[in-house]
Point group: D2
């Protein structure tokens, strides 16, 4: 059994991780910490855990956790993990960071979008844990940067097109829609029920921090710098991300040409499901699962391709992929413990 610890277990991503690990057949959750609930039973934070394995939220002590765990998951605000992760920690256990600190290889980019980075020396060692793209490179690593929710959906939606240069790289626009869990459990007027309910809005227009993360990965795929427009929207629902991606085709391609490229990259990826021609993903069809559904069409009047991807932001967009990374790190089948049928309707 893999001994796992979670730092930051009472946020929404942390709690989804607790849920998945509780049922994981090859892992055991031996320690979890929470700043706001330290010393309290986990069910004080989440009543869904009433009478379920009696987790107690601990004060954070990453050194002690590293001694007793095989892997530590961090689910923390940006800027915190880069202070906590050291060579010493990595020498004792593996680390999967659900935050942003190790996602960008370019520390300058990180610092211009986020804040000071305190572990630049460790950065080169971190692998971007987008399993369907970097699967083989993840094995054997000591630290995995688990991708963001928007980024997982966005990158997977357009990756084959970028890699194979079927599109004009300067033409990529990603219009993304997310459920409210993406904004976390911290209180704000924008997340007050009556303000968010029955409404839709864009936010952080052309300025969301997932933008450079998408760009860095797409640039690796393209072998040159890719700059995109990215606009997130808040949808009145709990879970789910839909990314509607637009790009100019670089030539004259048929639906089948493009489909073949998607099959080439994703044909053997269990968690990526291509929809039938004429059918497009809906977030509800992947809820509670690790699947990413992808569909596309060609807008012949404009020679654009429109690709739509959908995932559950807390699952494949956070905790599920983190466990997928753990499975890969420890040589398990990547599906172990996360091979769930979507829950519908819910």
């Amino acid at each position: 059994m893999i001994k796992a610890g979670i730092i930051g277990a009472t946020g929404y991503a942390g709690s989804e991780l607790v849920r998945i690990l509780t049922s994981h057949p090859e892992a055991e959750l031996v320690s979890l910490t929470s700043q706001s609930y330290a010393g309290k039973a986990y069910e004080e934070a989440y009543e869904s855990y009433r009478h379920i394995p009696s987790y107690i939220c601990e004060e954070e002590n990453i050194n002690e956790m590293a001694e007793k765990c095989d892997v530590i998951f961090l689910a923390l605000p940006h800027g915190v993990a880069s202070k906590k992760i050291t060579e010493d920690i990595l020498s004792k256990c593996k680390v999967i960071d659900l935050g942003a600190d190790f996602r960008l290889q370019n520390a300058d980019t990180y610092e211009s979008w986020y804040t000071t980075h305190y572990a630049k020396d460790i950065l080169p060692e971190a692998i971007y844990g987008l399993c369907e793209i970097n699967g083989d490179m993840i094995k054997g690593r000591r630290i995995v940067a688990n991708p963001g929710c928007y980024t997982t959906c966005s990158i997977l939606s357009v990756y084959p097109l970028v890699k194979e240069r079927l599109i004009d790289l300067s033409s990529i626009i990603i219009d993304a829609k997310s459920g409210a869990t993406g904004a976390g459990r911290s209180l704000s007027l924008g997340n007050h029920y009556c303000e968010l309910n029955e409404s839709v809005k864009a936010y952080k227009v052309a300025s969301h921090r997932h933008t450079p993360e998408i760009e860095e990965q797409l640039s690796y795929a393209a072998g040159e710098s890719v700059v995109i427009s990215f606009t997130p929207h808040l949808i009145p629902m709990d879970r789910g991300i839909l990314a509607t991606c637009y790009a100019k085709l670089s030539g004259s391609y048929t639906y089948e040409d493009i489909l073949n490229v998607y099959k080439k990259y994703y044909g053997d990826k269990y968690f990526i499901r291509l929809t039938k021609k004429g059918t497009f993903p809906e977030t509800k069809w992947v809820k509670g699962s690790n699947f990413v559904d992808i569909g596309f069409t060609i807008d012949e009047r404009t020679n654009r391709v429109i690709v739509i991807g959908a995932l559950d932001n807390l699952f494949k967009g956070a905790a599920g992929q983190a466990v997928q990374n753990m499975n890969i790190l420890f040589g398990l089948d990547e599906k172990t413990g996360i091979d769930l049928v979507p829950i519908f309707p819910a």
Copy 2:
């Protein structure tokens, strides 16, 4: 492996059953039928099943199914199962009926609330599959009548009070609230998104068919006839039932007196969770799980007890309890395959 079949697999309860059985470690779904999707892949009905075990919806042939299955689940409108279930079927395999046809032992009551009953001879053999009450009586049966969603929640909420006569039996009022999946997948103006959303209403006031089912079971518990008032309400959400139950206390009891009675009956029942004093159940805390949460308070000003129960209508209120019954029938741990942590937030 238990070989299972489902008749009526494309309604909401049927689809939840497919989902649970797909992941069940000791059961295998070998056959499923659907009137509307016969001959089609299951993912035609539910895109959540895209690329998942390639179930094909069959034409119904219960005799063939009985030959190859150890257990058949029926998820059908009332009046259909009583025509299909025969001694011959029961001699070949076990039957778990999610519909109403075998829930009422009193056929006259059935016929006055429903329609003609075509299998009165089999009725005495059917056991009411409310696992936490009838657990021991379920073992060894050939046919289980899986309780209704409202009834499971209502009966479990007040059973200890009735059994121990802590309340005036003529004073029971149950005000229940249900999510929209309770109304099924058939189209109607009342379930049209814009009509149901952002609204709450009562329906079938003092005339809902779950009333006699609750009454029959509570009468067994009381050893005398119990008549209740039952009012269901439709809530703008997908899943969940909350039953708010009111009754006059038959004497002077403290919170602890009542708590002890609940503990006596439910202390060893894994799927029933009593909330802490001052805390009451919310449907969200049990979503996607087989748990029933129960909390209560004494209204000292009126000497009434108010008990509140919550469950997921598609899980513990339908498919989850059906699988719990299967587990009991086949001598498995009752938790097998349904011991899921609630999904939150979702």
Copy 3:
């Protein structure tokens, strides 16, 4: 034109009042105050007011406001109004208090459910502004206590039955359901979108402060003390209250007997609409209007009557009724400015 002022204009009830008064043909909103937005444009608090009459939120100075206004509306937390309203204020202008401070004539009851009352001398002068019951008594008053949202719905639903003693007064149970605006705009985990959405729960079970308010009014109607059980529930929607009321009939009455009693009291009340036999109110049918819809049935098996009332908690349950009271106070047709068709679907 009536010159109106609002103290506490940036809560949800206050903002609904601003909205109604902005369109009122016989009133003019000359001053509004807000603690949190003092000095700012009203659209800083509510962007719906973008470019609409340029209200500026003022610091509260009730004395100045009393000088320039004909009527002051207070939309404040309980315990505040009783400190602010003095004989001096009442000598200058009329007051309509949307809070709880002047609703209970019995100051002891107020103090046992709320807090210290600072204006007991004024209490006898305040009239309970439930327009359909106390209409005639409101005229000529200096101070009106605008009823609570739950209480308006609850009292109007059962008043004729209590007044005419068609029911056993000790048997009244009110199970109420409210949209989230009832909880106001203050942030709390319970009102965080992802926690409230897709769930239903009871709260303040047998302990909600609207209980004594309902009881005091029903006691006046009955001519003797009435004690009830009242349980509020939170529904995932913005607006609306549904009250499901249960009581034992005191004799043998037909549907028509009861209907006649309702018609006797409400036949000439424009804002009360009785539903047809077999039809029950839904909150959506009254949204954005001052209507209260009421329907009932007899549960013959138990000889209970079940009455269901519905209203918009921010409109008839707060700001709309406050303006109705203003209309009555100033001798206008009570419908002036609030005679809106419900907005549907919304």
Copy 4:
């Protein structure tokens, strides 16, 4: 008083029209028809009308209606109005068509996206009733084609940029999000509560019929052919459209440059509200009103402008604009009867 009639009064757009006209100070609704409710009281279709002006749904007879009305509104599926509107009708009364039949001046385009057009002779006379653009041209007309919901929002969002050529005309992408009322009251699995709730999806990707309507109007503005990509999405809410529009800037422009262009075209338009810099529209802020909120930013990294527009699809997107057109046609202030403050929260 303007005598108005409505054909197709029981769809969602029709019912919103009934609601607005019921309160309109200068119009009187003298006749309304409905295929499905002919002969029944209007409250049979919409219980919100319980006890409100006793409209009776009539069988449609447009000739009779034309005799007694000054204006007829049509709220019908496409292909029906072009059969009904004749020179004879137009000689008797004015017509405002909320459907698609007279929106496209190019009949070939109409026939390639819709169906046969039966009134091509009348087409040249129809004016596209986008009030803020064509206001002056509407006066004196006999027939107005009321714009679609998506189109009103989309065109108004980008019109100044197109007109002044601040953008590359071939680069326009409109990603639109709509509440479920946009899909009407007809039953379908896609609009079944449990299927639409808690999900987001795209539909009619690159093939929605509002595309040619947007293009025709933008082409008029540009003086040359404009082709766009348009993708609508369905959002789990009742009302509201948000259009997120992307385009390449044709030169180097500042925020203020663009703002000035918007002010030039919209500075004197009451129903268009420009948001402050850094603030973007949300559908909830315009609900129940005739306002269109517009905000934009420059994505400097890509030299794209991102413009976001929001409106209430049943109000400014349908019935409200139809009444605005009526006001213009009859020489009233365009705001008459539709100058409502948005209802919030709702």
